[in-house]
């Protein structure tokens, strides 16, 4: 047990001793000063009185010798006067003030000396009158008194020293009486911290002040100990339940994503098969439900990740304005479908910054899609401006203004909370998990920004967020990929899919089916599926592969251990085979775990075909997709640039958009054509407007212009309407043909 070392200056014992000692000395000194100064004053007064009386007496004795002008006699009297130690000399002046006799009277008086003057009177016999015949001047010195006082001071100092020493000894003795139990108490408290049992030291439990203090401490300690134990068990329980929750999310991630993976994967594959309209409609519904389910799962996982502070921001260069444009354009179809005017106002053409573009896009998408969802009529406008901040960064402020249902004032504070919508009935009407705004707010805050909302019920809302972004890259950002690049030089993607030999380690039958279909679709001819890690290792021993697709959770030997085993093989070719993780575990630490085991890349399930192709692109050269940005070509009937950028590599989304375009175009053209003969002006304009939006959603610009032409020609006769409708259909057919030719749309109707 280490006793706390108390600095001398703050020790109570030291401070008490010093203060009492100083106080004692102070009182003694003051007393001493008072006594000695009083003695000095009294003695000096006595001295003066004595001197005056001696001088008066002398002056009487001197009268006759002075009258007789007997200098010898005077001198003798003065000499005898000077014998007295209180005199420092004497002199007699005659009646004219001339020196008569001088007996050592000093020329100048020092501080200790003072003069006493006494007139010398004598009765002049001739005049029979008492008159002054001279003056006796005596010098009185305080030197003897001073010496006396000093001797008193000497004795006082000795006495005071003895008294102070006595006080010191008494003080130390009494302090020991108090401080010893305190020190014992301190030791006992230290022991208490270990044992949490009451103090039982008999020295400390006597019936005195310390005893009662210890008694109180024991009471408090017992109560604190109970509270501590209760709190600790509560804390342990909370931690345990938190761990259970985290595990639950993790498991749910895996459990939900595995079947979803196969549902979505299968629908993606199914989409290319011929179907009749009814099947197509049912299929689309299944596909859309699966996608919504995935979105909900993803939202829940995102919230879990953000709350567990497990989110890691990327740091990449990107054009923030382009993200805004792309987001707005990606939502055009929904806006058009609802007849909303969705637009943006940007301060300039581009804003090149560094940050996490996908999270930024996610924030935008959430806000804009919410705005579109909750707005029935009017417009949704996204405006943005960038202002330089003090630290050399820029603060990007984005406002999303809608003319929607608005948020009541009493709900505005909780709008960002989990599972909260302004009105629970809203969920039923507009859909959504209620997590979007929570994620949005959390992402904004993680990016160092803030978000707020202003709203007017029935008139609309304005969501505004600001985030700081770098305009020049930070030095510290490093990408921790390619840990094994020193041993495995990165392959150039020289292997064609048909030549590639791929080993798939996957235990789940539906996932196996999905992988099989996926690889076949991508043109991979040589692949083998292993049921688990052990089988995968055996397969790898038998043959060499260009790539391993590794599921992480497998029976017998999981993906991580399998990877470690592969990286431990003797054969350098086998040892250095690229391994790509495929797992439904979507937590960031899962990716880190995969990479730290020696895997080269990580693909989260459900697998998106485009992401799959991109992740595998370092090793296998899959057919190049239409790259981004795609230079718009004047002679093409459709400019897919915006759509592609909105899809951000999400082929499913792209296809869905195209499918939606085809379906909606057909419906809306039929309606427009039906209105040619007898439709009202308003209906014609509305139908043309709706079709224009549909055309715009995929960048079918010629078709869009034709629609705009139709919309701008109200009140024309049916023949003109028909001609325009024919032109629109003509433009649509060009687009449709292009999409089919490019393999972007397949229909069994064709």
């Amino acid at each position: 047990m280490s006793k706390d070392k108390i600095p001398l200056s703050s020790s109570l014992a030291f401070r008490t001793t010093v203060s009492v000692f100083v106080l004692t000395l102070g009182v003694l000194s003051a007393g001493g000063y008072f006594i000695t100064s009083r003695i000095y004053d009294l003695n000096f007064e006595n001295l003066r009185r004595e001197a005056e009386s001696a001088a008066r007496f002398a002056s009487k004795t001197l009268a006759r010798p002075v009258w007789d002008m007997n200098q010898q006699g005077v001198s003798e009297i003065l000499k005898s006067l000077s014998q007295n130690a209180v005199f420092c000399g004497a002199q007699v002046m005659d009646g004219d003030g001339k020196m008569f006799v001088d007996a050592g009277y000093p020329l100048t008086l020092s501080r200790d000396q003072s003069p006493v003057l006494e007139p010398i009177m004598f009765v002049d016999p001739a005049e029979n009158a008492n008159k002054i015949i001279g003056t006796l001047q005596v010098c009185v010195t305080a030197a003897p008194i001073r010496a006396q006082v000093w001797s008193i001071i000497d004795r006082l100092v000795i006495s005071f020293a003895l008294i102070a020493a006595g006080v010191l000894v008494a003080l130390l003795a009494s302090l020991r009486i108090i401080l010893n139990p305190l020190r014992r108490f301190q030791d006992a408290i230290t022991a208490f911290q270990r044992t949490l049992t009451p103090i039982t030291d008999p020295e400390l439990t006597r019936k005195n002040e310390v005893g009662y203090l210890v008694k109180s401490f024991n009471r408090m300690g017992t109560s604190l100990g109970d509270t501590y134990r209760a709190l600790k068990s509560a804390k342990d329980e909370a931690e345990e339940s938190y761990r259970v929750k985290t595990d639950f999310f993790s498991n749910m991630s895996h459990e939900l994503r595995t079947p979803l993976n196969s549902v979505i994967g299968m629908t993606q594959l199914l989409k290319t098969r011929p179907m009749d309209d009814e099947q197509r409609e049912m299929f689309t519904s299944v596909h859309r439900s699966a996608e919504s389910l995935l979105k909900i799962v993803n939202d829940i996982l995102d919230v879990a990740k953000i709350e567990a502070r497990q989110i890691q921001l990327e740091y990449l260069p990107f054009d923030a304005y382009r993200e805004i444009r792309d987001t707005v354009q990606s939502l055009q179809p929904q806006a058009i479908a609802k007849g909303l005017n969705l637009g943006f106002q940007l301060q300039g053409d581009d804003l090149n910054v560094y940050g996490d573009p996908s999270r930024f896009g996610r924030i935008l998408l959430n806000l804009v899609s919410n705005a579109v969802r909750y707005t029935e009529h009017g417009s949704v406008i996204v405006s943005s401006k960038a202002e330089p901040a003090d630290d050399g960064r820029v603060v990007l402020t984005v406002s999303v203004r809608d003319t929607g249902i608005g948020i009541p004032a009493d709900k505005i504070d909780t709008i960002f909370e989990k599972f909260t919508q302004a009105d629970s009935s809203t969920t039923r009407k507009y859909g959504g998990t209620g997590l979007g705004l929570t994620i949005t707010r959390d992402l904004v805050e993680i990016m160092g920004g803030n978000i707020g909302v202003e709203s007017d019920v029935g008139h609309g809302s304005i969501f505004t967020f600001s985030i700081p972004l770098d305009t020049t890259p930070k030095e510290t950002q490093t990408v921790k990929k390619d840990q094994f690049s020193d041993v495995r030089p990165r392959h150039q993607p020289s292997i064609q899919p048909q030549d590639a030999r791929i080993l798939v380690a996957e235990d789940h039958p539906s996932n196996q089916l999905f992988m099989r279909k996926l690889l076949e679709n991508l043109g991979v001819k040589h692949f083998i599926i292993a049921e688990n890690g052990r089988e995968a290792l055996r397969a790898l021993e038998a043959e060499t592969y260009d790539l391993v697709l590794m599921d992480c959770h497998m029976p017998e030997l999981n993906g991580y251990d399998t990877t470690l085993a592969i990286r431990d093989l003797d054969d350098p070719i086998r040892r250095n085979v690229p391994i790509v993780a495929m797992t439904a575990n979507a937590m960031p630490e899962d990716e880190a775990l995969c990479l730290s085991c020696g895997m080269d890349a990580y693909i989260s399930k459900p697998v998106d075909i485009e992401i799959f192709k991109r992740k595998l692109s370092p090793w296998i050269a899959f057919p190049a997709e239409a790259g981004r940005p795609l230079a718009p070509k004047a002679d093409l009937p459709v400019d897919l640039t915006n759509l592609r950028s909105n899809a951000a590599g999400d082929a499913a989304f792209e296809r869905e958009m195209i499918t939606l375009f085809v379906r909606q175009s057909q419906e809306q053209m039929e309606r427009l054509e039906s209105l040619c003969a007898s439709g009202s002006n308003e209906d014609w304009v509305e139908a043309a407007h709706a079709l224009k939006g549909t055309a715009g959603s995929v960048g079918a610009n010629d078709m869009r212009e034709a629609c705009a032409h139709a919309q701008a020609l109200p009140g024309v006769n049916p023949d003109v309407r028909r001609a325009i409708a024919v032109q629109i259909r003509h433009e649509y057919m060009k687009v449709y043909a292009y999409l089919v030719v490019q393999g972007l749309y397949r229909s069994d109707a064709l």
């Binding site: 009258w67 007789d68 007997n70 006699g73 016999p125 001739a126 029979n128």
Partner: protein, 255 residues
């Protein structure tokens, strides 16, 4: 005349034999220039006489100066061989030479221009007279002083070694109107302080008094010494050397 401690007259001296150094005779006296002086070169008329007298017998003298009363008393007691300048009248038991060695005249002195003059004792009450404590002048004057000792308008007696000087100063300062002193002594003093013109004589006592070198009755050679001194005195007077001796010390007329 001569001075006496009056109270001491009744005292009988203690027995203390003179322990004279071999060949040296120790004599006591007080300073009373020109009779006995401090000056070693001119030690005084009486001292010169004694030195000459004892030299005839092959003896040296050693003169001790001290207050008069002390000299007189100790000489009588035998502490000294003799005492210089004593009057025969009041010192009966001392051994005196048959011839007096000198004479003195008691004289009054006043400030110049003072109208007072002593003719008779009845003149005395008109002045404040400065005297010297314990001095004896003349039976009549001593009686007058004794009777008026507490009347400072008549008698102001001063004490101490400087008593003569004090009286002169008081006379000049007007604190007294007259003082009294042996003429030779006053003349000698006034000359030495250059006050001859300010202070003038104003009458004298009618009689002249003899002064002796007298010897202790306790000294066995007292008679022998007295005879030596008497013989020398006679010889000096007869040879006229006494006048020359006197003139060496004072311009005053030898009484």
């Amino acid at each position: 005349m001569r001075r006496f401690l009056l109270a001491a007259l009744a005292l009988i001296a203690m027995t203390a034999p003179a322990r004279a150094q071999q060949g040296v005779v120790t004599l006591a006296g007080d300073e009373w220039c020109p009779y006995i002086c401090k000056d070693a070169a001119k030690p005084g008329i009486l001292v010169d006489i004694a030195r000459l007298a004892f030299a005839k017998a092959g003896l040296k003298i050693d003169v001790k100066l001290m207050p008069w009363a002390r000299a007189f008393k100790d000489a009588r007691a035998g502490k000294y061989a003799g005492v210089i300048g004593v009057q025969q009248t009041l010192a009966g038991d001392l051994v005196f030479p048959e011839v007096a060695q000198a004479q003195s005249v008691v004289t009054f002195y006043v400030r110049k221009n003072s109208p007072w003059y002593f003719n008779a004792t009845s003149d005395l009450p008109r002045v404040s007279l400065g005297t010297i404590v314990d001095y004896s002048y003349n039976p009549f004057l001593d009686d007058y002083i004794l009777r008026n000792a507490h009347d400072m308008k008549r008698i102001q007696a001063v004490a101490g070694d400087q008593a003569l000087a004090s009286n002169v100063k008081k006379l000049i300062a007007g604190r007294i109107d007259a003082t009294v002193e042996t003429a030779a002594v006053m003349e000698h003093y006034l000359n030495s302080v250059d006050l001859r013109k300010a202070i003038v004589p104003a009458g004298r006592m009618p009689e002249t008094q003899d002064l002796f070198i007298a010897f202790s009755p306790k000294d066995p050679k007292a008679k022998e010494y007295a005879d030596l001194v008497a013989a020398e005195t006679q010889q000096l007077i007869l040879s006229g050397e006494m006048n020359a001796l006197w003139a060496r010390y004072t311009k005053a007329e030898m009484p």
